[in-house]
């Protein structure tokens, strides 16, 4: 494997940060769905998750920066020379907007539940913005990875799709934890994630040498093995979740699904590699 250097730049903290963002992203989508279906308490819980997790995510990200308190330089208002061609700028803006929209949605919903006069249009607007930004934020970590050219294993159209499915799994898992009837959706999302992840490994195996090496390393990574087992567990438990099922099934499926998102993402990050050989010699 001469000339191949594995990524040690984006590791565990970034995997945690991206996972929190994934879970929050579709939690907002589900929160909006449950609100529109007349289940405000379920929506409130999702809104709270969608508000708090991105804040935690930003905190972890800040700690991973070399200048923890300078992260605001990605915002055009603060830094006129910001690079609008960088996905990180759009991600930063979207995370800020997402937190604001989710917090507004949660606050307005809480007020409405306390019998204060709140216009439904306001709640709908905030929820819709949060859900839309949520879908973007699910894709965003994958797009961030795919847009760069250094690591061939990540420079693939499959990576944003994997990220989107991780968001769908993570957000749905929140409501599985809350014992809401999302078992079928959880199963569909987890099995789709496994299928696309495996397709990515397969296509990478026939791609550039360094991508093939990354794919081979991924299959031996503990995160991939554990993630696949956990995702399959969530798929099966999601399918057997019914009203008559034992109460532990939903939460266990939710935890397994979230853990799968984290470990599969960690494997994807840690198996990424550069091919830095100079083939002239």
């Amino acid at each position: 494997m001469e000339g191949i250097v594995f990524n040690r730049v984006w590791g565990m903290p970034i995997a945690v940060e991206m996972t929190l963002l994934s879970v929050a992203s579709f939690a907002a989508v589900w929160a909006f769905y449950f609100w529109s279906k007349g289940a405000p308490r379920a929506a409130l819980a999702g809104g709270l998750v969608a508000t708090l997790l991105p804040i935690g995510s930003l905190g972890i990200l800040a700690l991973d920066l070399l200048k923890p308190f300078s992260g605001f330089l990605v915002f055009p208002v603060v830094n006129p020379s910001v690079n609008l061609g960088s996905w990180m700028v759009w991600g930063g803006l979207a995370i800020g907007g997402f937190i604001a929209a989710s917090a507004s949605f949660t606050f307005l919903l809480r007020a409405a539940l306390s019998d204060r006069p709140v216009k439904a249009g306001l709640i709908r607007g905030a929820g819709l913005v949060a859900a839309t930004l949520g879908v973007f934020l699910a894709v965003y970590p994958g797009q961030l990875m795919a847009a760069e050219r250094g690591i061939a294993f990540w420079h693939s159209a499959a990576v944003p799709i994997i990220a989107l499915l991780m968001g769908a799994v993570g957000g749905t898992a929140v409501y599985a934890l809350f014992q809401r009837p999302v078992g079928t959706w959880l199963s569909a999302a987890t099995v789709s994630l496994i299928v696309v992840y495996l397709l990515h490994l397969s296509s990478s195996g026939t791609g550039p040498r360094v991508a093939a090496v990354s794919a081979a390393v991924t299959t031996q990574h503990w995160g991939f093995v554990a993630g696949t087992v956990l995702a399959l567990t969530a798929t099966i438990l999601g399918l057997v979740t019914r009203r008559q099922s034992p109460r532990w099934i939903g939460p266990v499926a939710g935890v397994a699904a979230m853990a799968a998102v984290f470990t599969l993402r960690l494997a994807l990050l840690e198996a990424g590699a550069w091919e830095v050989a100079t083939p002239l010699y």
Binding site: E2, V5, N7, R8, V9, W10, L65, L66, K67, S70, G71, L73, V74, N79, S81, V82, N83, G85, S86, W87, M88, V89, G92, L144, M145, A147, E148, R149, G150, I151, W154, G272, W274, V276, T278, P279, L280, Y281
Partner: protein, 232 residues
Amino acid sequence: MRPVMVLNARKCIGCRACVAACSVENGVMFAAAQPAQRGWPVDVHLRTWVSWREKEGRESEDLARQFTPALCQHCEDAPCVNVCPTGASFHSEEGVVLVDKEKCIGCSYCIVACPYGMRYRPEPAKDRRARNEPLVREAQQGAAYGGVMFAPAVSNEWAATPDAVDKCTFCYHRNTGEGLWQPACVEVCPTEARLFGDLDDPNDPVAEKVRTGKARPARADQGTKGRVYYEV
């Protein structure tokens, strides 16, 4: 002016004087007791490095080892500049890729994006610990840091700092605006394995190597139009 560097692996003897000169010139923490046979700036945490390998199956008159000097390619279409969110990575008017240490937040996106592995992320805790000590001379003390540390002789605007991503600058601080300058690594190379020239100068012998195809990009397949060429 368009500075260009031409490296000749056949002339390189792997003495790593270039690495030491760069480290002293730019304040890069350098553990001399940890010489890696293979490595690239991204994993040895230096602005430039010379890795080597044994040649196998060659004629006896050939060199036994082959050395590969590596440093930032200063790409015209630089992936690192394209992804940097804060505008910290930029091109100077001469086309040298630089990092504004004030604007760099250390997100490491540029490191990930560089197809050549030529940027590195400093380790702030280790770096500060080393900088707070005087130049370590005793072997026992040096071992605690993994080797002998070279502290910067003279700091410069583009010198390494522990809170910003670091890379080669072609010793841009030596640019006085009065013609071509010489990077420290080029200056100390005993075999002239590193040469520095100006692509815009029709009489420049180094640029001529590029124009005639005697020197080629390291990874032409990347299409980033780097300003570092390897003589073949």
